[in-house]
C-alpha cells in the first residue's frame, strides 16, 4: 500500500511535470531558465514512451509475457489519430483536393470505406484505442488458448509485427505506403505549429500518463493483479488452483494494447508523422529494454526507464551518433546480466532489507518461465 508520503511524492512529481515545464517555457527567452519551444514536443514524446513502458510492464513485468508486438499497437493508435489529422487538413494539401495527398497521387477517386468517420476526432480517438485492443484480443485469444508462452509467444508476436509492417508498407493497403501520413496542419481546429497547441498536447500527454499510472496501479493492487503475478511465477499452479488464466492474461494483454494505442494517438500529433517504420521489429524490442533498464515489476521503474533510455537516445544521436547502438547494445547486455531488477533495484538494495513490500519486488529475482 502506498503511504500518505508516497501519495504526496506522486502528487509533487505530477505537479512538477505538468507545471514546471510549461512554467519554464513561459520564462522570457533570454533567461537561462528558459525552456525552448522545440523541447516541448520532445518531452511530450518521452511521456508517450513512458505510457508504452507502463503497458509493457503490465504484460511483461507483472504477468511474465514478453511481447515483441507492442510497436504494432502503438503504431495502430498512431495511424488512427494520423487519419483524423489527415482528414482535418481539408483542401490545404499540395493537390488542394478533398482527399489526402497520397490518394490523389495514387489516382484514387474516393475515400476508401475504412477511412470513413475519421473526420471526427471522437471516432478517431475511439478507433485509436479500439483497433489495437481488438487486434490484441483476437491474437491473444488464439495464442493463450493454445497455451503459447515464453519465447514462443515472443516469436509469434514478432512475426505479427513483421507481417503488419509489410502490410503497411504497401501503397495499396491505403495508409500512405512507406511515406505514411504526414503534413498535418491542425488538431481540433488548433494549428499544430503553434507553441500553445504543442504545450496543450504535452499537458494532455502528462495527464494521460498520470491516468495510466493510476490505472496500472489499480490493476496490480487488485486481486486480479495478484493472480497475474501468480501466473508469472507459476502458471501451472494457478491453473490447478482453479483460476482461468486465459481470461486473466487476455484481459491484461488487451488493456496493455489499448494503452499502447493511446500513447500512439498522443505521439503522432507531437512528432507530426506516422509511417510503417514505427512497426519495425526492433522498435518493439527496444520497448522491452526501457522497462528492463528501469526495473520491471515496478511501475515507477518502467516510467523511469523509458525517460532515461529515450533521453539518452536523444542526446547520443545528436552528440555521438555512431556510439548510440553500442550504448543500447551494452545496455541490453549489462542490464540482463548484472541488473535484472533495473535501476529501481539499486535503490532497493540501498534500503534493503526493508519492510515486506510484496508486489513491487522485481520479477527477475524470481525464476522466469
Amino acid at each position: 500500500m502506498h503511504t500518505r508520503g508516497q501519495w504526496l511524492a506522486l502528487a509533487v512529481v505530477a505537479a512538477l511535470g505538468l507545471v514546471v515545464v510549461p512554467g519554464l517555457n513561459a520564462v522570457p527567452a533570454d533567461s537561462p531558465l528558459h525552456l525552448p519551444n522545440f523541447l516541448i514536443p520532445l518531452f511530450g514524446k518521452f511521456l508517450c514512451f513512458a505510457i508504452v513502458a507502463l503497458a509493457m510492464d503490465l504484460i511483461w513485468g507483472y504477468t511474465g509475457i514478453l511481447s515483441l508486438g507492442h510497436g504494432v499497437f502503438f503504431a495502430l493508435g498512431g495511424y488512427a489519430m494520423g487519419m483524423y489529422l489527415m482528414r482535418s487538413i481539408g483542401t490545404e494539401g499540395v493537390y488542394a483536393s478533398e482527399l489526402p495527398d497520397f490518394m490523389v497521387f495514387l489516382d484514387w477517386k474516393e475515400l476508401p470505406w475504412f477511412w470513413r468517420g475519421f473526420d471526427h476526432f471522437g471516432f478517431a480517438t475511439f478507433m485509436a484505442l479500439a483497433v489495437p485492443g481488438a487486434l490484441a484480443y483476437v491474437f491473444g485469444w488464439f495464442a493463450f488458448r493454445s497455451r503459447i508462452k515464453g519465447v514462443y509467444f515472443a516469436i509469434i508476436t514478432q512475426a505479427m509485427t513483421f507481417a503488419m509492417m509489410l502490410l503497411f508498407f504497401r501503397n495499396n493497403t491505403g495508409f500512405g505506403g512507406n511515406n505514411g501520413l504526414t503534413d498535418f496542419k491542425r488538431i481540433l481546429g488548433f494549428s499544430l505549429q503553434e507553441p500553445s497547441t504543442r504545450l496543450g498536447l504535452y499537458i494532455a500527454t502528462g495527464i494521460a500518463l498520470l491516468g495510466t499510472y493510476l490505472l496500472c496501479r489499480f490493476i496490480i493492487r487488485s486481486k486480479l493483479g495478484r493472480v497475474l503475478a501468480a501466473i508469472r511465477d507459476e502458471e501451472g499452479r494457478v491453473l490447478f488452483t482453479g483460476y482461468d488464466t486465459l481470461q486473466h492474461k487476455l484481459f491484461v494483454w488487451t488493456v496493455s494494447a489499448v494503452l499502447c494505442g493511446l500513447a500512439g494517438a498522443l505521439y503522432v500529433p507531437q512528432v507530426g508523422i506516422i509511417n510503417p517504420s514505427e512497426m519495425v521489429p526492433s522498435h518493439s524490442i527496444e520497448m522491452a529494454i526501457w522497462v528492463a533498464v528501469g526495473g520491471r515489476g515496478t511501475l515507477i521503474g518502467a516510467i523511469l526507464g523509458a525517460l532515461l533510455v529515450n533521453g539518452a537516445k536523444s542526446w547520443f544521436t545528436v552528440a555521438a551518433p555512431e556510439t548510440w547502438l553500442y550504448v543500447l547494445g551494452f545496455l541490453f547486455i549489462v542490464v540482463t546480466l548484472f541488473l535484472p531488477g533495473g535501476i529501481v533495484s539499486l535503490w532497493q538494495r540501498v534500503r534493503a532489507p526493508s519492510t515486506g513490500n510484496t508486489n513491487d519486488t522485481p520479477a527477475a529475482q524470481r525464476s522466469q518461465p
Binding site: 514478453l66 491474437f139 488464439f142 495464442a143 488458448r145 493454445s146 497455451r147 503459447i148 508462452k149 515464453g150 519465447v151 514462443y152 515472443a154 516469436i155 509469434i156 514478432q158 512475426a159 505479427m160 513483421f162 507481417a163 509489410l166 502490410l167 508498407f169 504497401r170 521489429p281 526492433s282 524490442i285 522491452a288 529494454i289 528492463a292 555512431e322 547502438l325 553500442y326 543500447l328 547494445g329 551494452f330 545496455l331 541490453f332 547486455i333 542490464v335 540482463t336 546480466l337 535484472p340 527477475a364 525464476s367 522466469q368
Partner: protein
C-alpha cells in the same frame, strides 16, 4: 517446304552463275560503302545484302567498328586494331595507302541498324558454329526480308541444332510477315511448335482487331492457326513457369534452410534464443567479402577459387564468435530464455554497428566467381543461374554434414545427451558446459556458411541479418523444435509455397499470408510439424 527449298536452291545456283554480272554490281556497291553520303552508304549496305557475297563481310565489319578508311580514289582499306597497318578491303592483301588522303566514312544509328542484319546474314556461311549461332541470333532479333532466301539455303546443310533453331525462328518470323498463305501457315505452325514465349507478340499481332472490331487479318485460316499456336505456347509456358517456380522455390528453401539450420541447433537443441543469429549470417557474408578482397590483392591467379577458401573461413570466424558469445554472455542466462533474447539482441546491435564502422553503412558487392556466373538452360525459356544451383547443392551438403556431426560423432552424441537430460548427462561425466560452448559454436559456424551462400545471390550490408531473423525463427518453430528433419521439411515447404504464392498475390502479400498461416499453424500445433511425443512436448 520442298518447294521452298527448291526455290532457294535455284536462287543460289543463279547467284553462282551470274557471277560476272554480279561481280561488277558487287564492286560498285562495295565502293559505295566509302561514300561521303550516309544515304548512299545505306543503299550500298542493302545492295550488298541482296547480293549475298561473303567478300563484303570484312568491309562491313570494319565499317561497324569504324575501322574502314577510304582514299581519294575511292578505294577501301581496313586499318588494323592497333591503327598502324592497312589491308585492302576487297582483296585482303596488305596495302600502304597514303595516310594523308584517308577518310573515315561516317555512320549513324540508322546505318548501324541496317548493318547488323546484313553482317549476320553474311556470317551465316562462316565455318565456325559459334559465329553462325551469333549471326542467327541477330537475325532472329532483327529479321530482314533479304535474309529469307539465304536462310532457306543455309538451313539445307546446317547441322548445328542451336543454329538451326534460331534460323527456323527467324525464317518463320519473316514468312509470317510475308504474303504467301501456305508459308504463313507453316510459319505459325513452327512458332507454335517452338513454344517460345518471346514470339507471342508476332502471333498476337495476327489476332489484333481494328477499331471497328473486325480482325485486321483477313485470312480466317491464318487466324485460327495463330490462335491454336498461341494456346500451344501458353501450355508450354505454363509448364515452364511451373518448373521455374519449383526451382526458385527450392532455391529460396535452401536459403531459408541455411539461415535456419544454425538456429535449429542453438534454439532447437539448446533452447537458446539467439537474436544475433541473423548477424552471424551477416558476419559470414562479410567474411566472404574480405576473403575475396584478400584473393584480389594476394592471389589474383586463384581468384575463382576464393569461395572455397571463404567457406571454412566463414565457418571458423562465426563459430569462434558464437563460442565467444556463449562464454561471455549466454551461459549466465541459461534457464532465462527471455533475458537471453534481450541480451543477444544487444549483441546483434553491437555487431551491426561494428560492421558499419569497419566496412561502412553501404552495401558491398561480392562478385560471383566466374564458374558461378551465368546459368544452365534446361529448356528454352528457363535458365537456372549457377549461383542458385550452387546454393541448393551447398544447402544439401551442409544439412548432410550437420546430420553426420549430430548422429555419428562423439560431439553429436554428447549434444543429444545434454539436450535430452542435462543432469543425467552431467552425472555420466559429460562436460555439459563445454558441450554447450561447442554446440553454440557449431550453430553459429553454420550460420556463417549461410552467409557465404547469401553473399552469392544478393547485396551484403550491415542489415543483412535482420531480414532473415523472422524467417529463420518461423522455419525452426514450424519444423518443430529439436528436429533437424522438421527444419528441412519446413524450409522446403515455406520456400516453395512462398514462390507459388508470389505470382498469385504479389510478393509482399504472399509473404504476409505465409506469416499469418504460420501464426495460426503454431497456435494449432505449438510443437511444429514433427512434434516430440509425450511429456517432452511441454515447452
Amino acid at each position: 517446304m520442298k518447294h521452298v527449298g527448291r526455290l532457294a536452291f535455284s536462287i543460289a545456283i543463279a547467284l553462282l552463275f551470274s557471277a560476272p554480272i554480279a561481280s561488277a554490281d558487287f564492286e560498285s556497291a562495295f565502293r559505295g560503302l566509302g561514300s561521303s553520303s550516309r544515304t548512299s552508304i545505306l543503299e550500298s549496305i542493302e545492295h550488298l545484302g541482296e547480293l549475298n557475297d561473303p567478300r563484303g563481310l570484312g568491309a562491313l565489319d570494319a565499317l561497324l567498328d569504324k575501322r574502314l578508311r577510304v582514299d581519294d580514289a575511292g578505294r577501301l582499306f581496313i586499318v588494323s586494331e592497333a591503327g598502324d597497318s592497312f589491308v585492302d578491303a576487297l582483296t585482303g592483301q596488305p596495302a600502304e595507302p597514303d595516310p594523308e588522303s584517308l577518310r573515315t566514312p561516317r555512320i549513324n544509328n540508322r546505318v548501324r541498324r541496317a548493318l547488323k542484319p546484313v553482317i549476320a546474314q553474311l556470317r551465316l556461311r562462316s565455318p565456325d558454329p559459334e559465329v553462325r549461332l551469333a549471326a542467327a541470333e541477330t537475325l532472329r532479333r532483327r529479321p530482314s526480308e533479304n535474309a529469307a532466301a539465304l536462310i532457306r539455303s543455309v538451313l539445307e546443310d546446317e547441322t548445328d541444332g542451336d543454329v538451326r533453331d534460331a534460323l527456323v525462328v527467324s525464317l518463320a518470323q519473316i514468312d509470317l510477315a510475308g504474303d504467301d498463305p501456305t508459308q504463313r501457315l507453316a510459319a505459325i505452325e513452327t512458332l507454335g511448335r517452338l513454344g517460345d514465349r518471346n514470339l507471342r507478340t508476332q502471333l498476337e499481332a495476327v489476332l489484333t482487331t481494328g477499331p471497328t472490331g473486325s480482325p485486321l487479318e483477313a485470312d480466317g485460316e491464318v487466324r485460327a492457326a495463330a490462335k491454336e499456336a498461341l494456346a500451344r505456347i501458353d501450355r508450354v509456358s505454363f509448364f515452364i513457369d511451373l518448373a521455374g517456380n519449383f526451382f526458385y522455390g527450392l532455391s529460396l528453401a535452401s536459403i531459408l534452410l541455411l539461415a535456419a539450420l544454425g538456429l535449429a541447433i542453438t534454439f532447437g537443441l539448446m533452447g537458446v534464443i539467439n537474436m544475433a543469429h541473423g548477424e552471424m549470417l551477416m558476419v559470414g557474408a562479410y567474411t566472404t567479402y574480405v576473403t575475396l578482397g584478400l584473393f584480389e590483392t594476394h592471389l589474383p591467379g586463384l581468384i575463382d577459387g576464393y569461395i572455397l577458401a571463404a567457406i571454412p573461413a566463414a565457418f571458423v570466424v562465426c563459430g569462434f564468435l558464437g563460442m565467444l558469445m556463449e562464454r561471455g554472455v549466454i551461459r549466465f542466462l541459461y534457464g532465462r530464455p527471455l533475458e537471453t533474447l534481450l541480451a543477444t539482441w544487444g549483441i546483434s546491435l553491437i555487431l551491426i554497428q561494428t560492421v558499419r564502422l569497419v566496412f561502412g553503412a553501404q552495401n558491398v558487392e561480392v562478385a560471383n566467381p566466374a564458374w558461378l556466373s551465368g546459368g544452365y538452360e534446361i529448356f528454352r525459356g528457363l535458365v537456372l543461374p549457377w549461383s542458385r544451383i550452387f546454393i541448393v547443392i551447398f544447402a544439401g551438403l551442409t544439412v548432410s554434414a550437420v546430420w553426420f556431426v549430430l548422429q555419428r560423432t562423439p560431439l553429436g552424441l554428447h549434444v543429444r545427451a545434454v539436450t535430452q537430460n542435462r543432469e543425467m548427462a552431467a552425472n555420466l561425466g559429460i562436460a555439459t558446459s563445454r558441450v554447450d560452448m561447442w554446440t553454440f559454436g557449431l550453430g553459429s559456424g553454420i550460420a556463417g556458411l549461410g552467409g557465404v551462400a547469401l553473399s552469392q545471390i544478393g547485396n551484403v550490408g550491415p542489415e543483412l541479418g535482420q531480414s532473415y531473423i523472422v524467417d529463420s525463427f518461423m522455419v525452426v518453430v514450424l519444423g518443430g523444435v529439436g528436429k533437424l528433419a522438421g527444419t528441412v521439411v519446413a524450409a522446403l515447404g515455406l520456400g516453395v509455397v512462398n514462390k507459388f504464392l508470389e505470382p498469385v498475390s504479389g510478393a509482399v502479400l504472399g509473404k504476409i499470408f505465409v506469416l499469418i498461416f504460420l501464426i495460426l499453424f503454431i497456435q494449432r500445433r505449438p510443437q511444429g510439424i514433427f512434434a516430440l511425443k509425450g511429456r517432452a512436448a511441454e515447452i
